[in-house]
């Protein structure tokens, strides 16, 4: 039950008088407020600062520390107050939660301190109100990232029992871990530089020999350059193969960008080796050599800055794309205009629209090479318009776009995060709230079980239910009595539906048929708690952190003396004497295990804790046994 409206429970109960004339059978007895406590002031002494509040205020949230009997552990007999050795500032917001029903996150608080306080007092952070929730989540995320960064620094520690492969991979990824790794790191870096320089110098004209004009060094010292190239490619190939061997997931490694760059860098060499000196293909082969420049990207393993740049570009791809698109539009427009303007003039360089593209681009970016110049007046006019608009089109949006990058990027991230958080958050709140919906059914089962166990002197399973809850349950029981129907949880309901669909013989289960005509005799039996669950798990998503029952093995029989408790739900023998069981014995089949509260968010049921079942069947001639399978 939503504890925020606990104050209205007396009203709801009083209003239940409206059902009385309509009901056809007597109501269950109301739970007694035995303590008969007047509403008293409680003093909470938190590290010296005294807070006072009504007891009923704290009782609103019975599954927190202050609302349950857990606070009795902190009771100080001499001073008649509850003493907590915690932060009084943080306690303010916690106490306000009880008073107003809304939990706020004070911005000046440290996030981890606040979290600890919440955990101590048993309050889940998801209840934080909308006004403060985003701030809370942001701070928490920052904290988490900082922790992760710290952890990453510790990752370099050598774990014991790392096999050779893992050591190698670690050496590749973090060169600082060992001397060998450092040596390897520098060697590869050196050879990348050598390779790049070689490629560059290859094309420089070297000096003329006796009978030939200038030729590039590459052709003059072919052998030397070839040897250099071979050496570099050897190193790179060995490096690539080693990385491939050491990678934890080879498939993923091969798909990564860096490995593709590696492959592209060394492939031209091998293709060149394979290819013969065929005149036709050598032309194409020459083009392949351009890919050798990709070796420079291998530096990004050595430079953090390059990696960040690449990541930034990748993430701002959509903005850049839009910039490109708008530029293209402008270029096409102006190129078309210039072409048609210059069409008339003779010996015009503007031979076609694509040819005018070059002019437009050069003009708009204010480069102005001067290789293409308009000659007609109209062309000059449009040319000047083009250059003016070029300034606008490029110089203005670029800073805006750059700043937009960061703003829109971060904003998008936050919106997506908020949406993702919202779903998870709502799900968690729904789970913790749905516990109340089934708390009643739980307590019915618990009450039933309690009685049964009392008979067999077993250990009492009952969790003490607060007075508030017992009153609320009594209210729900009155409603059940008025309408002559009972609350069940969803699984049972679906089972029942299935059963009704399958049922062909009315006589097979007198329970169901008896209830069909139960209008007159509404207090049909509860002896059959029809919960056949062949596939185990009771859905724990429906049930809150109360105990779970796995199976109840009940026989109807003479009812035990009707106790004046809230759990007199069972075994009212019908006046019409439909039950003819003799010698009923009631046995329980299961000892249930308590689940930890609020820590099983999307708990998928009780597949985890194995249940021990003590099944004792008692024979009886009664046909109304309901056997429930144990998990």
């Amino acid at each position: 039950m939503a504890s925020g409206v606990a104050a209205w429970l007396p009203f709801a109960r009083a209003a239940a008088i409206g059902w009385m004339p309509v009901a056809n059978c007597p109501m269950p007895i109301a739970p007694r407020d035995n303590s008969k406590r007047q509403d008293e002031l409680i003093i909470l002494n938190v590290s010296g600062r005294r807070f006072q509040t009504w007891r009923t205020t704290l009782d609103r949230y019975p599954d927190t520390l202050l609302g349950s009997s857990e606070k009795d552990f902190f009771y100080n007999e001499e001073s008649k107050e509850y003493f907590f050795d915690r932060d009084p500032d943080a306690f303010r917001s916690i106490l306000n939660f009880y008073r107003t029903g809304k939990l706020h996150y004070p911005r000046h608080e440290c996030i981890s301190a606040y979290d600890e306080e919440l955990t101590f007092f048993g309050i889940i952070p998801e209840i934080i109100g909308d006004c403060c929730y985003e701030e809370y989540k942001d701070r928490k995320r920052e904290n988490l990232e900082r922790l992760q960064d710290d952890q990453e620094e510790n990752k370099d520690q050598k774990l014991p029992n790392m096999n050779f492969r893992e050591t190698m991979w670690r050496a590749f990824e973090n060169p600082h871990t060992s001397t060998m790794a450092l040596v390897f790191y520098y060697v590869t870096g050196f050879f990348i530089a050598i390779s790049v320089i070689t490629n560059v110098v290859e094309t420089v004209p070297c000096g003329s020999t006796a009978n030939q004009k200038d030729m590039p060094c590459g052709e003059r010292y072919t052998v030397a350059f070839f040897c250099m190239d071979t050496a570099c490619v050897m190193i790179f190939t060995v490096e690539y193969l080693l990385r491939l061997f050491a990678a934890p997931s080879r498939y993923r490694f091969m798909r990564s960008v860096m490995s593709i760059i590696d492959v592209v860098a060394i492939l031209p060499y091998y293709i060149g080796l394979v290819m013969t000196n065929n005149e036709d293909v050598s032309g194409a082969f020459v083009t392949l050599r351009v890919f050798r420049v990709f070796r420079i990207f291998k530096f990004s393993r050595h430079s953090q800055g390059l990696r960040i740049l690449g990541y930034t570009l990748k993430s701002c791809a959509s903005e850049l794309g839009f910039l490109l698109f708008s530029l293209t539009m402008a270029i096409i427009i102006f190129a078309t205009v210039m072409f048609y303007a210059e069409k008339g003039s003779s010996s015009s360089k503007f031979t076609s629209i694509p040819a005018s593209f070059w002019y437009t681009i050069v003009t708009m970016t204010t480069l102005g090479y001067g290789d293409m110049v308009p000659k007609t007046i109209a062309g000059k006019i449009f040319g000047s318009i083009c250059s003016l608009s070029g300034v606008l089109v490029i110089a203005l949006p670029v800073p805006v776009i750059v700043s937009n990058f960061s703003r829109i990027y971060h904003q998008n991230q936050r919106a997506d995060k908020r949406r993702a958080q919202k779903k998870a958050r709502l799900a968690r709140i729904r789970i913790s709230k749905s516990s109340s919906a089934n708390a009643f059914i739980q307590s019915k089962r618990n009450g039933l079980l309690n009685e049964l166990l009392e008979l067999t002197d077993e250990q009492k399973l009952a969790k003490s239910i607060s007075l508030l809850e017992s009153q609320h349950h009594h209210l729900l029981q009155c409603l059940e009595k008025t309408t002559a129907h009972e609350f069940v949880d969803e699984q049972v309901y679906e089972q029942n539906c299935l059963e009704r669909a399958l049922q062909t013989y009315a006589s097979r289960s007198p329970s169901i048929s008896s209830h069909d005509s139960s209008e007159g005799t509404c207090c049909g039996r509860r002896g059959k708690r029809n919960t056949p669950l062949p596939n185990a798990s009771l859905p724990s998503s429906h049930q809150g952190p109360l105990q779970e029952l796995s199976a109840i093995h009940i026989q109807c029989g003479d009812p035990p003396s009707r106790t004046a408790s809230r759990s007199n739900l069972n075994l009212k023998t019908d006046n019409s004497g439909r039950i003819n069981c003799k010698g009923g014995r009631i046995t329980t089949a299961i000892i249930s295990l308590p689940t930890p509260p609020a820590l099983t968010p999307d708990g998928d049921g009780l597949h985890g804790p194995p249940q021990r079942s003590i099944q004792t069947t008692a024979s009886s001639a009664c046909t109304n046994i309901v056997k429930v399978s144990a998990l």
Binding site: V5, R13, G18
Partner: protein, 216 residues
């Protein structure tokens, strides 16, 4: 008999048309800060002690800081006690029963008067209150349609997952049983006298009327 039925039906239609259900009302109510009469006056008018009134008011004011409850808030609060079903229809009827001056809001006085009857009143008063609740159009007669509405509202609170499964005609059957018991002269409506008479002769009802006396 038919004419009477037509009358009641048309009266109900009129009531439905004129029911205040607009945004302006809400705005008005939210701007209003209602202060209740003094403690002594309330003490005199109701059967609660001073302390009980204090407790009641604190709870009331906590949920409704403005001092009045409008129907939406009322429905929200009441629905939280019945998480499995839909309590809004019944809450609507309850609201009308509490809102004795029919101004669309329940102030603390209305609230406390109603509670005083329910918790501390005589059997006669309680039965009177229940009759008033069932008599939706407040014309002094409970017709089968009114009773059916109330019954459906009560069954709605149970929700879907019940045992045995709720069927379509269950409320109707329940209404039939009710009328069989209550409608002595079989004229199709239940008057206040028939109602009170019948309830007083029914042991179960008498006993359950005393059930909630120790609520506060």
């Amino acid at each position: 008999m038919d004419a009477k039925r037509v009358e009641t039906i048309s009266a109900r239609v009129d009531a439905a048309v004129s029911s205040p259900d607009s945004v302006e009302d809400e705005l008005e109510l939210s701007a209003v800060r209602h202060r209740p009469e003094g403690l002594e006056q309330l003490e005199a008018q109701t059967r609660f002690s001073r302390k009980e009134l204090q407790i009641l008011y604190r709870g009331f004011k906590n949920e409704c800081p403005s001092g009045v409850v409008n129907e939406e808030t009322f429905k929200d609060i009441y629905s939280q006690f019945f998480p499995q079903g839909d309590a809004s229809t019944y809450a609507h009827f309850l609201f009308n029963a509490f809102d004795t001056d029919h101004n669309g809001s329940v102030s603390f006085e209305d609230f406390v008067m109603g509670l005083s009857i329910l918790l501390r009143g005589t059997i006669q008063e309680k039965l009177n209150w229940a009759f008033n609740l069932y008599d939706i159009n407040k014309d002094g007669y409970i017709t089968k349609e009114e009773m059916l509405d109330i019954m459906k509202a009560i069954y709605d609170m149970m929700g879907k997952c019940t045992y045995p499964v709720l069927k379509e005609e269950t409320p109707r059957q329940h209404v039939e049983v009710f009328f069989q018991k209550m409608d002595k002269n079989k004229d199709g409506v239940v008057t206040i006298d028939e109602f009170i008479d019948c309830c007083q002769n029914d042991e179960n009802i008498m006993r359950s009327m005393h059930l909630f006396e120790n609520v506060l």
